[in-house]
């Protein structure tokens, strides 16, 4: 097994003793099959136990290890070191989020936004448990499946320049999840969600840069979801104004 010495420049920030972040370099003997997260674990275990970062599954499922690697938002457990350009590897916390400590960012803003779009099935009428589950055909599942693959890793928010410039923007993942529930045959909550998403801070803040979809590790394509919602919201507007009687 071949080993390479690689320098990692990691953005550190200690909110108790520092006023701003600084880079700290670590030289790590990396194995061929390592991902960036392995190098971080090596640093924490053998070089510097004070380094803070989030991770859990090490298999691109939990969505907690997102960070900027050489300026690009990536899951550190999916970023193979051998695939990165030779030389120093720069690791920073996800852009556009406040830094809590080292590579850990503050997620409160996203959590509030996620909650605001009601990301759960809102049935027309609650059925008693005895009536059994809400059934769905494979075709109905297919309508929203792609948008249900989101792991809340927030790479898309770190990639989105609109979110960086206008933090009120609901943002890619929360909007993709809105779309996911709107498209669900068991759900009748679209109108409630429209109050939040068919607004300036909702879909209309998006100018289709498309960066979110390019960085998404799960091929959710939030940008596509947002454009589809823009079209549907525009159709709503026309229907409402041209055929007011249709509004129930």
């Amino acid at each position: 097994m071949s080993q390479r010495q690689i320098t990692f420049e990691i953005l550190r920030y200690d909110p108790e003793t520092e006023t701003e972040p600084r880079f700290q370099a670590y030289c790590v003997p990396c194995e061929e099959e390592w991902v960036v997260l392995d190098a971080l674990n090596y640093i924490k275990d053998t070089l510097d136990g004070t380094l803070n970062y989030r991770w859990s599954c090490h298999m691109a499922v939990c969505g907690s290890c997102g960070m900027m690697i050489n300026g690009e938002p990536m899951l550190s457990c999916k970023a193979f070191i051998r695939d990165l350009p030779a030389g120093t590897i720069k690791v920073e916390p996800l852009y556009h989020f406040p830094i809590e400590r080292d590579l850990v960012v503050v997620l409160d803003d996203f959590m509030d936004k996620l909650e605001s779009v009601k990301p759960y099935v809102i049935p027309k009428k609650q059925r008693p448990i005895e009536d059994g589950p809400y059934k769905q055909t494979p075709k109905q599942l297919h309508q929203y499946q792609q948008y249900s693959m989101c792991i809340n890793c927030l790479l898309c928010y770190a990639a989105c320049p609109q979110y960086g410039l206008t933090p009120e923007f609901i943002g890619p993942a929360a909007l993709a999840l809105t779309h996911r529930y709107n498209l669900d045959s068991r759900d009748k909550g679209r109108r409630q969600r429209q109050e939040v998403v068919a607004t300036h801070e909702g879909v209309w803040e998006c100018s289709f840069v498309g960066a979110c979809s390019e960085v998404c590790p799960k091929d959710v394509d939030p940008a596509g979801a947002i454009q589809q919602m823009k079209i549907a919201s525009t159709a709503d507007w026309y229907l409402e104004h041209l055929m007011p009687w249709r509004r129930s």
Binding site: P21, G71, Q227, I231
Partner: protein, 130 residues
């Protein structure tokens, strides 16, 4: 333990220099300036045509000068860039149901190119170029 989150400001005027993705996006946005200028030049052409022979010849000389041709080429380049990048993303904005799934993306993109070609042909025929 005290909390004191550190906020990194996004540079307001130079944010798009951060990566190629943003630069490509800005190029697409800027393309509208050239397309707008081209449309303005066409409108001026119409006015000149209405003003008479002399003005019209003057206008034609203007647009066929090296600067005029350079501008047309530039506007054409930007128009193509805008259309191509736009066509390529259309399948993501419109999902057309078909059977259990959706019409495949390449079919939607191709349809856009075919419509583009047909409309261009009709215009060229109407203008007597073909």
């Amino acid at each position: 333990m005290s909390r004191n989150p550190y906020v990194r400001e996004v540079p307001r005027t130079t944010w798009y220099m951060r990566n190629n993705r943003y630069i490509r996006y800005m190029l697409r946005e800027v393309s509208c300036v050239f397309i707008g200028l081209y449309a303005a030049s066409l409108t001026v052409g119409l006015v000149r045509l209405a003003q008479g022979d002399n003005e019209w010849t003057h206008y034609l000389n203007g647009i066929s000068s090296p600067t005029g041709i350079l501008f047309s080429l530039l506007a054409f380049g930007f128009a193509c860039y805008h259309s191509i990048t736009w066509f390529n993303v259309t399948p993501r904005a419109m999902r057309i149901p078909k059977g259990d799934g959706f019409v495949p993306g390449p079919a939607i993109v191709s349809a856009h190119y075919i419509i583009w070609a047909v409309v261009s042909l009709v215009f060229l025929l109407m203008m007597g170029v073909l």
